[in-house]
């Protein structure tokens, strides 16, 4: 049981990186990007391509891919997402659904449907572990990914709290019109936000490809996990994505402990339970804010 919980917490780190980009974009642009998982997988394929074909060191491949993802995000917001946002609620969903399909089939066309992984290129990190008392084995890679997720979230928190861009992003999140009346170019801020979200998707893609096998159609499942983490943690809450990711990860690990086929089902059940809880009004605050309110802090 303890082993499953530890594995779940570490898995939550990966979900947090993936969900942070989705949550950031949803908060600032009010735009649910259904291609988020596919974009993460696209980044993973780019990294694999650079490493496998150009024999580039994996760290360099990641460092090179992340700015490309950022530029892609900037361009997508400028030329596609911003236009569809004017078309009401449904158009952005249909557009990003279509974008996801294009990415999946594009990857299939270029790389075929063979499964791929970065696991072959990271040496013994793919299976190296620390042994803890009680016959518990903790993989080094999941620990590193979890640490990376905390570093990413701390960095995002610092960006949002202490930088000009971060303050503008927060202002635009709350009230785009008032932000514009304060001199903020909301369109530029939204482009920057999507660029950051895509960098996070790229980082999540790298983590995904290191810890598991991927194929061109892996993206939609990752989107579901990211969305579940965002909803469980509370939409717009940065640390909520980590809390939501951890809750989701623990649920999946406990499900897998019972039967490997229950891995995904347990996560979905927890997600639905949180939604049901919110419909009753009890959990509209999200996990992080709920804990704060229970401690007497401001929700």
């Amino acid at each position: 049981m303890l082993d499953a919980i530890i594995q779940g917490v570490l898995l939550g780190g990966y979900y947090a990186i993936l969900a942070a980009g989705l949550s950031l974009m949803l908060g600032v642009t009010r735009f649910l990007n259904l291609a988020h998982g596919d974009l993460a997988v696209l980044a993973a394929y780019l990294i694999i391509y650079l490493v496998a074909t150009w024999h580039m060191p994996i760290l360099w491949a990641i460092v090179l891919t992340l700015p490309v993802m950022g530029l892609l995000g900037w361009a997508l917001q400028a030329f596609l997402f911003a236009r569809t946002m004017k078309g009401g609620f449904l158009l952005p969903l249909l557009t990003t659904f279509g974008l996801g399909a294009v990415i999946q089939n594009g990857i299939y066309g270029v790389f075929s449907s063979d499964v791929k992984s970065l696991g072959n290129f990271i040496g013994n990190l793919a299976w190296a572990s620390w042994k803890l008392p009680g016959h518990i084995s903790v993989g080094k890679l999941p620990v590193y990914i979890f640490v990376a997720s905390v570093v990413v979230l701390v960095s995002l928190q610092l960006l949002l709290s202490f930088t000009k861009l971060g303050r503008a992003m927060r202002a635009t999140t709350v009230d785009e019109e008032a932000a514009e009346l304060s001199g903020i170019d909301a369109r530029r801020i939204q482009r920057a936000t999507v660029a950051i979200a895509m960098v996070l998707a790229g980082l999540a893609g790298a983590a995904l490809a290191m810890r598991s096998l991927i194929n061109p159609y892996t993206g939609p499942t990752q989107l579901i996990f990211a969305f579940e983490a965002v909803v469980i943690g509370g939409i717009g809450s940065l640390w909520g994505t980590l809390a939501g990711g951890i809750v989701l990860g623990i649920a999946q690990s406990l499900g897998a402990k019972i039967s490997p086929q229950l891995f995904q089902l347990f996560g979905h059940v927890v997600f639905l339970a949180v939604l049901w809880w919110r419909m009753k009004g009890a959990g509209s605050l999200g996990i992080v804010n709920l804990l704060r309110s229970l401690k007497g802090g401001r929700a």
């Binding site: 503008a168 927060r170 709350v174 932000a179 514009e180 009346l181 304060s182």
Partner: protein, 243 residues
């Protein structure tokens, strides 16, 4: 100087503003009065670029800003204190001011000079804007507009929902701003007495059109009442003329 010409604005099929023109010089206060639904808020949302279903021209210091986004109009020197304050509630007062200062123009208005002009903000700088009283929120909204170093600032429904004491404090600060002569002020005010005493000139809107314009000291009570309610000198409704 802000000069608006022949502004027409629509809400779908409803014509909310009909051919409004006026100008405001630096250091001048223009009072705007009119009943609820007269088109005041739509007019100023159109001038600041927030309401885009409009025609007409808006020039500031000779620069045509009719087609640019609200953020660019702020950069050109036009600021607005919107109805309802529209602060960023999860940000502190300091951050609300800071964010406008970072994205507005450089000029005489800095954090220090804004706090000198609005001393009520000093003790609440670290408070979250969402936790403030109505008067404090209005002061923050005005401070936020000043931080962009505007040549003209539009204040929509400036005293709406405030207590009499808060309104007194607010107008004391606005009087200092007026005395500085740095900024043209357009103040939308429901309190006619207040609008007349504080403004140099007044315009009255009715059903989206200007029904009265003149120097505050020259307008009579009857002029204003007639323009405000759409009555002719004989007490007949003038609004039929706009139908």
């Amino acid at each position: 100087m802000l000069e608006v010409k022949n502004i027409q604005a629509q809400h779908g099929l409803l014509q909310a503003v009909r051919g409004v023109s006026f100008s405001v010089r630096k250091g001048e206060v223009l009072g705007v009065i009119g009943a609820n639904g007269a088109g005041k808020t739509t007019l100023f949302r159109a001038i600041t670029g927030v309401h885009t279903d409009m025609t007409g021209s808006v020039t500031l210091n000779g620069q045509d800003i009719s087609a640019v986004r609200p953020g660019k109009r702020v950069a050109a020197g036009l600021a607005m204190v919107p109805e309802g304050r529209r602060l960023f509630p999860d940000m502190s007062v300091r951050e609300n001011l800071q964010v406008a200062g970072e994205h507005g123009r450089r000029g005489d208005w800095t954090m220090e000079t804004v706090l000198d002009a609005l001393p009520a903000l000093k003790p609440i700088m670290r408070s979250l804007a969402g936790n403030l009283s109505g008067g404090q929120r209005q002061a923050v909204a005005i401070g936020r507009a000043l931080m962009t170093n505007p040549d003209v600032v539009i204040m929509d429904e400036v005293s709406l929902g405030l207590s009499p004491i808060a309104i007194e404090g607010l107008y004391e600060s606005l009087a200092q701003l007026k005395a500085s002569g740095k900024t043209g002020i357009v103040v939308v005010e429901q309190d006619l007495r207040r609008a007349l005493t504080f403004s140099d000139r007044v315009i009255c809107l009715l059903e989206g059109a200007i029904t009265l314009e003149g120097a505050s000291g020259e307008l009579t009570h009857d002029d204003i009442t007639s323009a405000y309610f759409g009555l002719s000198a004989k007490g007949e409704e003038r609004s039929a003329a706009h139908a």
